[in-house]
Amino acid sequence: MSSHREAPSISKDPVADNTDLYAFVSPGNTVSILANYIPLEEPAGGPNFNQFGDDVLYEVMIDNNGDGEEDVTYQFRFTTQITNGDTFLYNTGPITSLTDPAWNMRQSYSVTKVLGRRCTGRAAVLASGLASPPVRVGPRSTPNYPVLAGAAIHTLPGGEKVFAGQREEAFNVDLGSIFDLGTLRLFQNLHLIPTPAATPVDASKGFNVHSIALQVPTTHLTRDGSAPSDPLDARAAIGVWASASRQKALVREAAGVLAQSAGPWVQVSRLGNPLINEVVIPLGKKDYWNSTYPKDDSQFLQYYSNPELSRLLTVLYPGVFPNLAALNGSGASRADLIAILLTGIPAGIVGGFQNFTGPVQADYLRLNVAIPPAAAPNPLGIVGGDLAGFPNGRRVTDDTTAIELKAFAGATYPLVAPTFVPDGAAALLTDGTTNDIAPLSTFPYLGHPHEGYEHSH
């Protein structure tokens, strides 16, 4: 999936697994950032429903000067409280408010903002004891869930809005086909091992995630506190990524004693652009990639400049991508992918647009904060002529699977080599899935979670 269970080690540690990251301009001169964790949450996962890890440091970073390092960081730490240890129930009655005594297992969290590098910067606790909403259990336990979730949107003194809790999984993808040797059901009649074309299946349908949502005044994020209105203003491009860290040591005590963590935080997961650690970074490097920082991403350049996925397409779909095969065979570096994913698109490539952060190659979402939200968003983003969408940041409705499939198939190579003619199939590539639940139109944007009671897996 986007970055769900994408590396061997983190696939065994779902609480710390970054799954998706979104960053987009929102109304009122704000930027909204949604950092999702815990892949493929089964809504009916009681009695111990999914929750954030009390022993995990969740972070959202912003680079506003293009050096690949964080200039602004928001840190989130969670605390779980069990109010009644003498019952197996998550709730002992309907939960009608965030202070309802019937809610037996609740989480609260703190938000810390760091200006400068995380290791040396100035940290300030913005808030603590903020309530997360309960998970969505069912009509008896969590009636009127939108009200409960809405009460868990907190406005901080600095103007930020925060929400941390369960949400509907908005990333749709046909996992079952893609990881069956790269099959795309719509086109599998053309696959090396052909079967009749078929209807796509959204493998994430009906699942939930846990999301940390943050809406920040734009002026909090830019290098000089401005809110640029000219998209070509270099100050308008910011980089956004998210991570999860665990302390270096964990000691399990004898029965009845809680495990003890100690030592500095060690990053175990990170996420910038979707699908990168999933299908660009090779298996032997995935856990290492998760432990590294965007500023050092030039070490992975070969996987972007000569991506395995582009080579696979020509093998798995013989005869369908002759121009891509020639491009692959030429040894030319995929400068288009390097720009889109590692440096941003410089001015002059796409009319009226840039999200170039400089020469430092760093894998993070690049958002031009001067591009206003689109009145009619195109899920293909810039590829579809909508400058407010991926790879200008990433919106919830952007079809990043289709966009990246097209890009890796060569559809974006003319950005750097105008004489290159993409194969006709490149523009058609998609896994064919859509999300059947529309996102919310307002913060925290991701849809309300599926109820355990109604789950269908």
Partner: protein, 95 residues
């Protein structure tokens, strides 16, 4: 002879404040908590608590060099101290 990596794993020792060996070192040389840290980036959240009063985890990372890593709260201190390493190793061998 034990090698560095294997020995480090076997030498993983945890002592609570009520414990003995590592705490003794703390009491004897209180200034070492300000000694050099590991080479990793430390998120600023680590500065929210100095960890004093929390249990200490110690391990011998490189026995030949006498490199001992001490973890308390969110702090990490790396010491080049052959005597301390030897002491920890002998504690483990007594078990």
């Amino acid at each position: 002879m034990p090698n560095g990596n294997g020995l480090s794993r076997r030498s993983f020792v945890k002592r609570s404040l009520a414990g003995a060996a590592v705490l003794g070192a703390v009491a004897a040389v209180p200034g070492w908590l300000l000694g050099r840290s590991g080479g990793e980036e430390l998120p600023a959240a680590t500065n929210q608590s100095d960890g004093l009063g929390e249990p200490i985890v110690a391990y011998v990372r490189d026995a030949e060099r006498g490199e001992v890593v001490l973890l308390q709260g969110t702090r990490e201190v790396v010491r080049q101290d052959r005597a301390l390493a030897s002491h920890l190793i002998s504690c483990c061998q007594e078990v």
